[in-house]
Amino acid sequence: MANTLDRLADQVRENRIWRSIFRSGTGESNLHRALTVQQNVFLHLFSVKARKRTLEFRATWYLGALTFGTFLILVITGILLMLYYHPSVPQAYADMKDLQFVVSSGVFLRNLHRWSAHAMVFLVFAHMFKVFYRGAYRPPREFNWVIGVVLLLMTLLLSYTGYLLPWDQLAFWAVTVGSNIASAVPVIGAKMRFLMLGGTAVNANALLRFYVLHCVILPFAAVVLIAIHFWRIRKDGGIYPGESPAEGDAK
């Protein structure tokens, strides 16, 4: 049975149509495995080989991978939530109630999005401290650390803009507290706050702006930065292997 399936899978992968899409072809050899990564526009962000040491759990605790995992969950649940959401006052709140009582699995969808968002903020911080304590920020990886700091800010902004969208008391006042801090910036504070909220108070304009930031601008920026972040791992010599003379042989 398993043999038949294997043969069938091989036949599919040797098929002309399949080969026209995936250029690497089939095979168990390391060459084919390398080509699978190297000839794929997304996978070629990663190196073809990795040091075995860097894959051990204690090396990274897989915190970067897990952060990316929460991001994937957030994108999927976020898109589904967008189907049920209107960024207007007070319809936004009514949509929350619809998720709760009308939409199938609506509560679950919202729960998963919310808890994953908290998990992502936590994991980003954990990832940062883990990288620091391992010393993985040191040259030649210094610029990837900087991109990481920017991604941390992106994560906070994504979470913060999403916080307003349910348009309940919790959302409204949390964002009011936050936006008041922005107005403390010397000279341009009040202008910045006006730009952020589209007005002088948190209202329907602010909801729309936060919605556009949350669903379009910030995710797009995050995806681009994540791609660079991954690609830089390869370019800077793979995942930091720890203190060792072998560091010099990175390819």
Binding site: N30, R33, A34, T36, V37, F46, S47, V48, K49, A50, R51, K52, R53, L55, Y62, A65, G69, T70, L72, I73, V107, R110, N111, L112, R114, W115, A119, V121, F125, M128, F129, G135, Y137, R138, R141, E142, V146, V149, L156, S159, Y163, W167, D168, Q169, L170, F172, W173, A174, V177, G178, N180, I181, S183, A184, P186, A201, E243, P245, A246, G248
Partner: protein, 234 residues
């Protein structure tokens, strides 16, 4: 190459992991072997598989949490009715706690701005690159500077009544002094580990400690009017 003993042929038998290679090391041109080749695995499938498993485990945990606990949803937003206390999201509560002590321009702009700047420049300063224990060299001078900085900073915090930031500072300072008192030949145990830590480690640990303490206090120990409450009595 008339003499067959002039070289040694080595065949790496582990074909699945490394390509087959044959090295001819002659006596005349003997290359110096600095490091042994590190063991490597193919990204596909090894790395992708492990990553997928890690993400799957995380996804299962998050699904279970989402089935068990509902996300909070309060009443419709009402600009006329301010809840007391009005709290920011949890990851900003450390900042909101600082807002209680300092003017907004300091707690809301200056401190987070400095933190972000400090994080960005970390890898560009040699002080963060060197991995030598803080007290291993020049100890007397470093102890003097350390003493002055800590005392001045603690006075500053005490003047503004920021006890919640002062206590973690004193705890970290105590551990730094413990590391300083450790004889330099100690390399084992907890004290040996402390003594091996560079300045960057201490600063980051202090920052992490403050971050956790301030966030926890803002989240659990603050009630109406930002007054101190005990979470178990609420």
């Amino acid at each position: 190459m008339s003499d067959p003993k002039d070289f040694v042929a080595v065949v790496d038998s582990d074909v699945r992991k490394t390509p087959r290679r044959i090295a001819f090391i002659t006596k005349r041109t003997s290359p110096q072997v600095h490091v042994k080749d590190e063991e490597r695995v193919m990204t596909y499938p090894e790395v992708f598989f492990r990553t997928a498993v890690a993400i799957q485990v995380l996804a299962i945990i998050l699904v279970v949490i989402s089935l068990r606990w509902n996300a909070p949803l309060e009443g419709l937003a009402d600009p006329m009715h301010t809840p007391n206390p009005a709290k920011a999201p949890w990851y900003f509560l450390g900042l909101q706690e600082l807002l209680h002590y300092f003017p907004p321009v300091v707690a809301g702009v200056l401190i987070p701005g400095l933190v972000v700047m400090a994080l960005i420049v970390i890898p560009y300063f040699n002080i963060n690159i060197e991995a030598e224990g803080l007290w291993l060299r020049d100890k007397a001078r470093r102890l003097r500077i350390f003493g002055i900085v800590v005392v001045l900073f603690c006075i500053f915090l005490a003047v503004f009544d920021v006890w919640v930031a002062l206590v973690p500072t004193l705890i970290v300072a105590a551990f730094m002094l413990l590391a300083a008192q450790t004889p330099p030949q100690t390399t084992r145990g907890f004290r040996g580990w402390l003594a091996s830590k560079p300045l960057s480690f201490w600063i980051m640990t202090w920052f992490l400690f403050e971050l956790v303490v301030l966030t926890a206090i803002g989240t659990f120990f603050r009630g109406p009017g930002w007054s101190w409450v005990w979470p178990w009595r609420a």
